[in-house]
Each structure stands twice: as structure tokens, then as C-alpha cells.
Point group: none
Chain length 137, copies 2
DNA sequence: CTAGTTGCAAAGAGTTTGCATGGCG
DNA sequence: CGCCATGCAAACTCTTTGCAACTAG
């Protein structure tokens, strides 16, 4: 049985902030501080809760640089719920991935490893076409 | 000028534990708990300090999953460069994934999408065998 | 004896939870 | 009017630091 969901100002506020600031790497506190500066009525806890929800929905990705840096959030620019994301660790660019091979892997992990993958939450990290030219791996 | 180094029981103890448990996903607390169970005389702080030293020496690899998961360590000797991590979003369990299918995908993303994937940084999120029984997705 | 090592206690940061209040439908 | 959303304060977790006691060489 599914939970009822209420549409509230705060949820839109968080998502809109991320949409309007593409490519910026902001953490939860940044979002909170910025929204407060804009005189929005919101609490830090609520920011955390909405960010988590948006990550699960696949509208936002969370990236961890290292364990002593707060997690960063950014809008993926896509509403497709079955789309994987790729993020370049050098330039920060986000790309969308949907191809047969990834679906094959998904089915394989499902049937042979007993893992049900959530595409929307899964992000591949690496180097994009441009950046691989400049990095020795 | 280099610091003098004392060979102590505790350092060997930590390294040996990792050597004897290849492929397992252990964090600092796991190591501490296991060693205590074996009646070793060691403190959690010391475990952290030796793990850090071993990582700097290159004998041990540290992986960061996400901001809410303790860093995990494993002995370099058993490192598989194509090893990915899977995290269950319900119970938090971490597992390793290495199989041909994931390598195939990696090569496909490399040649067809021009993405060079970094396996160690990439985490698959989803439900594990146990948890998929309880969740409707 | 000297200097590195140990480990308890406490600090520290980011994030989550308890709970009373407020607001959507 | 029932339930979900909100947000403050407090709790929690992982990791690091301070410091006095210990120990290898």
C-alpha cells in the first residue's frame, strides 16, 4: 500500500533551486543557506529529506568526493525514470546512458546475483570523451 | 629526516587480518571487533592509525561508498581492478560485484560511448536478495 | 633513556530521528 | 478531520585529536 504524497512548497523550492543552478556542486547546507537568503521558509532537516527523495526519484544525483566532504547534489536534467547517469570526475559533466548492454547487465544482476538494481540512483563515474585525452589512467 | 619506526604486534595483527580475509568487505570497526573476538590486545584508534599507514604504503586499498557508509579496506594482493560495489538501499549491506557481464558493459561504454569508467568509484544501488522480498518497487 | 606507539576519552562534522506543531486534501 | 510534512533540538555515526602511560631499541 502506497503512501499518500502531499505537494508542498518546500519540495518544489529545493528542486527548483537545483534546476536553476546546473553544474554547481552544492551540498545540503549550501542549499539551505541559499534558500534562507532568499527568505524561503524552510529548515535544514527538510532540505535533507527532499534531497534524499529527489535522489531516489532519479531527478538529482548525489556525489561523494571523499569521506570528509559533504555530499554534493545536482539536477540531472532528465525526467526519464529508467535512465542511468554518468558523471565525469574531471570536468563534472553529467551524461545520460540508456543502451541495451546496460539492460542486459541489469537483468544479469537480477537473475544471477539476486540484486534488484535501481537505475535512477546508480551513477557511473569516470572520464568523458574530452577529459580522457588529458588524463593518464 | 625520517621518523624511526617501531615494529609492534598491533601493526602485524591488522595487516594479517586483511591478508587472511581477501575479498571481504570490512571497515575499521569490523577489523577491531574481529580482532577483539580473537582476544587481541588492540584499540579502535590504533586500528584506524594502522589502516591509514597501510593505505599510504600501498599494501591496502580503501574504498569510499558514500557519505553514510564507513570506508572499507582490503589487502592489495587480492585487488581486482574490475571490482564494483553494490549497496542495498534498505539494509545498507555492501557487496562486491565482478563478473564478465560487467566487464562487457565497461568495454562497451569505453568504445561506443567514449566513457572511461572507474570501477572503484562506481556504486550500484538497489535491493539485495533479502530485502527485495519486503519491498515493492 | 629516548622517541615512537598505544588507547581511553572527548571532540568534531555531517546527517538522521523524536516529537510536537502545522497544513494539504 | 486524518495524515503527511515540517523543523527544532537531540541523538547518532564514523573518524580524528589530546594526552598520559607504555614499550621497543
Amino acid at each position: 500500500m502506497r503512501k499518500k504524497t502531499y505537494v508542498t512548497v518546500q519540495k518544489d523550492t529545493v528542486l527548483n533551486y537545483l534546476k536553476e543552478n546546473p553544474g554547481r556542486h552544492v551540498n545540503a547546507r549550501d542549499v539551505y543557506d541559499e534558500l534562507k537568503k532568499q527568505e524561503e521558509k524552510i529548515g535544514l532537516t527538510t532540505v535533507y529529506r527532499h534531497l534524499e527523495k529527489l535522489v531516489q526519484e532519479g531527478q538529482v544525483i548525489r556525489s561523494v568526493i571523499d569521506e570528509n566532504t559533504p555530499a554534493c547534489y545536482e539536477y540531472t536534467g532528465c525526467e526519464d525514470s529508467h535512465c542511468y547517469h554518468f558523471k565525469c570526475i574531471r570536468c563534472g559533466r553529467i551524461e545520460h546512458i540508456h543502451c541495451d548492454e546496460i539492460t542486459i547487465l541489469e537483468n544479469h544482476l537480477n537473475s544471477e546475483h539476486n540484486f534488484t538494481i535501481m537505475p535512477r540512483m546508480t551513477v557511473f563515474y569516470g572520464l568523458c570523451e574530452e577529459c580522457r585525452k588529458y588524463e593518464e589512467v
